[in-house]
Amino acid sequence: MGEIVLSEVRKSFGGVSIIQGIDLVIPEGEFVVFVGPSGCGKSTLLRLIAGLEDTSSGTISIDGKDATRLPPAKRGLAMVFQSYALYPHMSVRKNIAFPLRMAGLPAEEQQRKVEAAAKVLNLTPYLDRKPSQLSGGQRQRVAIGRAIVREPAAFLFDEPLSNLDAALRVSMRQEISELHHTLKTTMVYVTHDQVEAMTMADRIVVLNAGRIEQVGSPLELYRSPANLFVAGFIGSPKMNLVEGAEAARHGAHTLGVRPEHIDIAEDGPWKGMVGLCEHLGSDTFLKVEVEGVGQINVRVGGDVPLRHGSQVSLAPQADKLHRFDAAGKAMA
């Protein structure tokens, strides 16, 4: 139950190629996140899996059966939309029961399943309200409830948290992760937020311009990005990318080093002046103008006596350097 296999999937809209040949296996029970900048095709890819768009070529199979030409309802998938897409004139109860009603389940069974789902999602007190009387987080939970009751082969999430405020986003993120641990159903999750991707995913698929840049667990992508795009996209704050003489000294076209892998050392090779200095308490983010290298972001402990204009010398950790060739590929 719940394995999704894409092979050579392509999609173009009126001659513009959006998805350019995707091969991907999403194993059963895994939480996979599609991440990428806006316009990279991640939502389109999700809609292709859902069946809301037709593929231009290639095949999609779900549970080992070819689903390329199946209508959305027959694929056994449930989707949570960015706008929640709740039915505004129906109560929460009717919203959640809608897919069961369409499937022709008897009324008592609908009732039982709706109440079970409401209990899991803490929606029981709100069952008789209309969506317009709920907060953003509650609406999101109703949308998830509507997906759960169908007991789908896989859940598809299309940027479900982007309409919520920051605090709610963090707690919904945890709720969705916990839901995944409870249900153990395959989940495919689309987001442009790499923090969501890193925190929730079993595996991350980094997409760019309709192609897969790299697939791997969050830490794999963090430790060994396959190319410059992944290196720059995964990790916050962003990896420093240095070109020119300093990179050549390490035998690479581009040298990458993460802000957290740079130490302040008396005899460090990079000397420069601190520009912007952000004290967050737990951490301090520095922008240091290093002679001959350029601007370097550094992440150091919360208690450093540095301010705008201080002179520092920096030492990148030698074993944490990333080297990229002229084509942007990682070098061994």
Binding site: A50, P72, F81, H89, M90, F98, P99, R150
Partner: protein, 290 residues
Amino acid sequence: MATQASRIAGRLMLSPAVVLLFLWMIVPLGMTIYFSFLRFNLLMPGTEEFTGFENYSYFFTDPAFWPALVNTLTLVLGVLVITVVGGVALAVLLDQPMWGQGIVRILVIAPFFVMPSVSALVWKNMLMNPVNGLFAALARALGLQPIDFFASAPLASITAIVAWQWLPFATLILFTAMQSLDREQMEAAEMDGAGPIWRFVHLTLPHLMRAMTVVVLIQTIFLLSVFAEILVTTNGGPGTASTTLTFLVYMQSMLQFDVGLGSAGGIVAVILANIVAIFLMRMIGKNLEA
């Protein structure tokens, strides 16, 4: 509009418009009420005198009154049903992507631009005429007896003409509402296993309720005063078969020159319109809230 001064200034600036609108309404209404209590016949000038409710009792006992009342309600209801049902159907069809969309939309709206008397004449002479009309030609081509529409089904024929005129209006309002229907909701319903018919019943129709309410309320106001179509086609006949309250008032004040009786009829029509309005607001007004 927060301070006392700005509120007062706002009221002062609004008042000319409000006063003008109020006079515009109250003067004709007041004069009509006044005339309705007078014996006032244009053929006997100078004999005006106060007669109490005599005009009203004549109006209610007129043998044409009850048929006119029934005809008015039948006409309004018939046109409403045709335009709302047809309007929803056309709005759903026009919302589908198709070639030549812009031109088709303009064509659908076109009848609304034709003035009522002209469109009634077109229907009477070019379409429904039992000798020269298109429908008669069609019937003969099929070997059938042509129907004399205005003689055998006068009220239904007028209903058809008026519905043809108002269908574009209903379509326009409902089509605009269609376009604000959330696409993601439709897709969610599709994923939930709802076929096209269930999606229409559970999503499209509830979404269109408010627009339908607007259509029904606005059309009722105008349909209660349908006049030109009747004058041009049947002249209220045969007998009283297509006489509405509006047309009855016209006959009494303009053909029998009895201004007093006509005014009484006018006031009755105003009261009837208000009763209909109250019923409508009770039944469907809640759709306009929130």
